[in-house]
């Protein structure tokens, strides 16, 4: 059943691409209906599978000569991420209600991207996974290059080239695994059971891991993320941060770590205290957490603040994965969901609610607009999203981050401490942005000392309210009752190869 998330999205994209330009409103409503249908299918699949193991979705021989199958299945991790994709898609369309230029094409690219993302999360055949992974690259380029803002062509090209370079690395690894195993299959579980030589895994693992981690925004390969996020139109930023970066993290776990678990083993020597790829990448992740947060602290463009915060939060995801503990990986998956929802919400406030009314993202300019009084709705939403994203208990971010930190404490105690510092810096940049944009102390007087009236902006529209309720509600729900997701994630993590759960203390 879950396979229909993919088909619906692609069919919707195709329909929008070939249908006559029937008017923007039609395209919006159509795209919204398609996305809601996708979400409904994802939700139904999530509920019906309950806390069970992997659910087979489809299995057809695709290219028998090469042993490639069209195999889709969904374990708990996939089901959670499919749900996230559905949420992000619906919210993204709600927050792009004002797109009026080339509307059909916009939503066609949007739905094509969503279809690719669904496909990656559901693929079991690695070849198929790779196909969907690449399908997602091209729409991103056009979404940013056509409908973007600040330096959009640069941002779009940078994003496309980083993604493609990453996927070339992944493809090298996959081809090498395919040829080495010689089993004429690309099935994930069959290949994962093949005993690749440790020396092979030692180079294949970092290659594939970095290939995927580029898209997850791992330091030092993160530089596409802030520029891409800033250049993208609101909905594309929401998708980029919300689900596309998750593709990278998902690939790291599902492909790199599952296929080549011995790549995480110690090298047998250590250099400056670093003795394995695992430590190297965990170090990168921690640097990403602190660096992203620190850079976000000094940005003057509102969107760059959120863009760098994504780098920081994705660092937590990667750190969680590399702890190789049950709780750490649980937390990482939960953090993927949480960040997907919250980053979407933050980008929606910045790009849609505030920017489309004030036409500036400069913190200094915004601080003079008294947005706290002029746009109380935006202020309230940003307070909620900001608090949730900095890890306030009661929201999904807290549950996720605490689990990652506990896992990290078992595996890399010092990294856990540094990551904790990064989270504190996270509080600081959120606070700073909040204060500067919405609750500035600047007096409401003009240059001559006269009173300046509170500016009036277009009223908040129903799509915005609906989108906010959807995203904030999801975060709150998971924060209050995390078992909704954790009960599904935990069995799936336990079913991962044994070697991935041997880090730190049992």
């Amino acid at each position: 059943m879950l396979a229909y998330t993919i088909y619906l999205s692609f069919a919707g994209a195709l329909a929008l691409a070939v249908l006559p330009r029937a008017g923007s409103q039609f395209a919006r409503v159509f795209a919204l209906l398609v996305a809601i249908a996708g979400l409904a299918v994802g939700l139904a699949g999530f509920i019906s599978a309950g806390t069970g193991g992997a659910v087979a979705v489809a299995d057809l021989a695709w290219i028998p000569g090469m042993g490639i199958h069209y195999t889709l299945a969904a374990d708990g991790i996939s089901r959670v991420l499919v749900l996230l994709t559905g949420l992000a898609a619906v919210a993204g369309i709600l927050f792009s209600w004002t797109v009026s230029e080339r509307t059909n094409e916009f939503f066609a690219f949007f739905l094509a991207l969503i279809g690719g993302v669904y496909g990656v999360f559901l693929s079991v055949d690695l070849f198929l996974l790779f196909v969907f992974y690449e399908i997602a690259i091209v729409p991103k380029y056009f979404l940013i290059a056509i409908w973007g803002s600040t330096r959009r062509e640069y941002g779009a090209m940078k994003l496309a080239l980083y993604s493609f370079a990453g996927s070339a690395m992944v493809l090298i690894g996959l081809l090498a695994a395919y040829a080495t195993a010689g089993a004429h299959t690309m099935d994930l579980h069959t290949l994962a059971a093949y005993p690749f030589p440790v020396s092979f895994q030692m180079w294949a693992f970092p290659l594939v891991f970095v290939g995927f981690a580029i898209l997850a925004g791992m330091w030092p390969f993160h530089t596409w993320a802030p520029t891409g996020h800033v250049a993208a139109p609101t909905a594309a930023s929401m998708l980029l941060a919300g689900v596309v970066m998750k593709l990278g993290a998902y690939g790291c776990l599902r492909v790199a770590m599952t296929l080549f678990p011995h790549g995480l083993d110690p090298w047998g020597f250590s250099l400056l205290g670093i003795g394995s790829w695992r430590t190297v990448f965990a170090l990168f992740a921690v640097i990403g957490i602190v660096y992203g947060a620190a850079v976000a602290l000094v940005q003057n463009d509102f969107k760059f603040v959120i863009g760098y915060s994504s780098v920081s939060h994705m660092g937590l995801v990667l750190l969680g994965l590399l702890t190789l503990t049950q709780i750490g990986i649980d937390g990482a998956v939960l953090q993927m969901f949480s960040h997907g929802v919250l980053a979407g919400l933050l980008f929606a406030v910045v790009g849609r609610i505030v920017y489309e009314r004030t036409h500036t993202r400069d913190l200094n300019a915004l601080s003079k607009l008294q947005l706290g009084r002029a746009m109380p709705f935006a202020a309230a939403v940003f307070v909620i999203a900001g608090m949730a994203s900095m890890g306030l208990p009661g929201f999904s971010g807290f549950v996720a981050e605490i689990q990652v930190l506990i896992g990290a404490w078992y595996a890399f105690p010092w990294f856990a401490v540094v990551a904790g510092v990064g989270i504190v810096v996270g509080v600081a940049y959120t606070w700073r942005a909040l204060q500067r944009v919405f609750f500035s102390d600047l007096p409401a007087v003009g240059p001559g000392g006269e009173d300046v009236p509170v500016p009036r902006y277009d009223p908040i529209t129903w799509p915005e309210i609906a989108g906010v309720l959807l995203l904030a509600g999801s975060s709150l729900l998971i924060g209050v009752y995390p078992r909704l997701l954790l009960d599904v994630i935990t069995p799936a993590v336990q079913a991962l190869p044994h070697l991935l759960l041997t880090g730190g203390r049992p």
Partner: protein, 489 residues
Amino acid sequence: MNYVMPGVSFPNLFWITFPETILEVVSLVVLVVDLGFLRKRSLAFRMTAAGALGIIGCLNAIGWLAAHSAPMALGDALVSGPIVVAAQVGILALTVLVLLLSLREEFSRNPGEFVAIVLLATTGMMLVTAARDLLVIFVALELLSLSLYVLAAFAKNRAESAESALKYYLFGGTSAALMLFGFSYLYGLTGTTSLLGIASALATGVASPLLIVALVMVAAGLGFKVAAFPFHLWAPDTYQGAPAPVAALIASGSKVASFAVLVAVTSALVTTRTSAGGASWVVLLLWMAGASIVLGNLAALVQTSVRRLLAYSAIAHAGYMLLGIAAHTVQSGTAVLYYALTYAVTTVGAFGVIAIVERGVGSATLDSFAGLSRRNPLLAGAMLVFLLSLAGIPPLIGFWAKFNLFSAVLRAQTAGAWGLGMVALALGASAVSLYYYLQVLKRVYVVKPVSDEPLAVSPIELGTLLFIALAVVGMGILPGLLGQWIPLG
């Protein structure tokens, strides 16, 4: 000398070259009809009539080949079998597409001659594909090359056309001379011109300096045909100056034929691990491949003419295919053929779009493509499909071709030491290639057009291009369709 090749007889010769004969006859018919009966008619009508005749001829040849794909041979000189037939059918189909796309072209006042020479070139391609004897290979290659030189010069009112033909001819003549020189050394060393005989004569032993010289010369000749570094210099100028359908033919059918002969020659030169000169040949191919990949992709980055961009990308693609040839397994040879055919189809489509844009805007610079998506959405969609397929984005056919080729290289025991490194280079370079393909697509979709006026396309051209685009998508989603003729994996 009373020398009779076993298995050679006139009925046999007639039988195995029947499709080529059809083309020869049709090319004469085209000339007679055009010059004899249609001289008073309008140029457009004559072009249509000549093109239609040529297409009918090609379709007949395809029909005959489809019914006679069983293996047969004419001594050691010509062979036929499923793979050869697949390549020949592919070449004929490419010619049909090129003819369809030239029906509305107005570069020539001699439509009969144009179509006749296109058919002669196609005959050359088909013969090259089947040839397994140095002399037959040389003669067939010359038939192909001479036809293409003439075709490149066909737009007589444009100086660039003449220039491109002259460059093509000078480079081609030199490399043909070198190749013939190399062939003569091979003959002198082995005492035979048949590839089978050469294979067994060279099966063991050490490489003499003479053999190395011969190999380098042969590499020069065939490297010219596939536009591999350092014999690629003609490609950008010829692609730019030649009439668009001719450039498409040079980039498609001619490439397929040349790669087919390169596969055959390689399998003769490297039969066993102990082949004399086998290792040297592989090293030669690898150097050409690596340099072509790097140079082609880097030079394409800075091009402002889409035709030149495609020329440099063709050099890069030739580099990828040379890797498959250097691996010299049966699978990698088949994979090269699959790659060459799918690449050729896509390139014909791309040149079709270029020709239409050129006619409407006046040039084929990057900026001429600005706003194509608004001036003609279908044409823009077709271009999107072609270029993404060339870049190797799934699920388009170009991706399968790459995957199939590189996995064949990695699986080849014969490519043990260099396989992974070269495949990594090729995949890294294809990430670079996305940049320049996106440069074109950026103009097509992102940049605003100078004028919003719709770009006129004749139904037949649009239909052909959409057919090619659908084929590229369809064969990408169901790669098994083509896999029935050319096995994958």
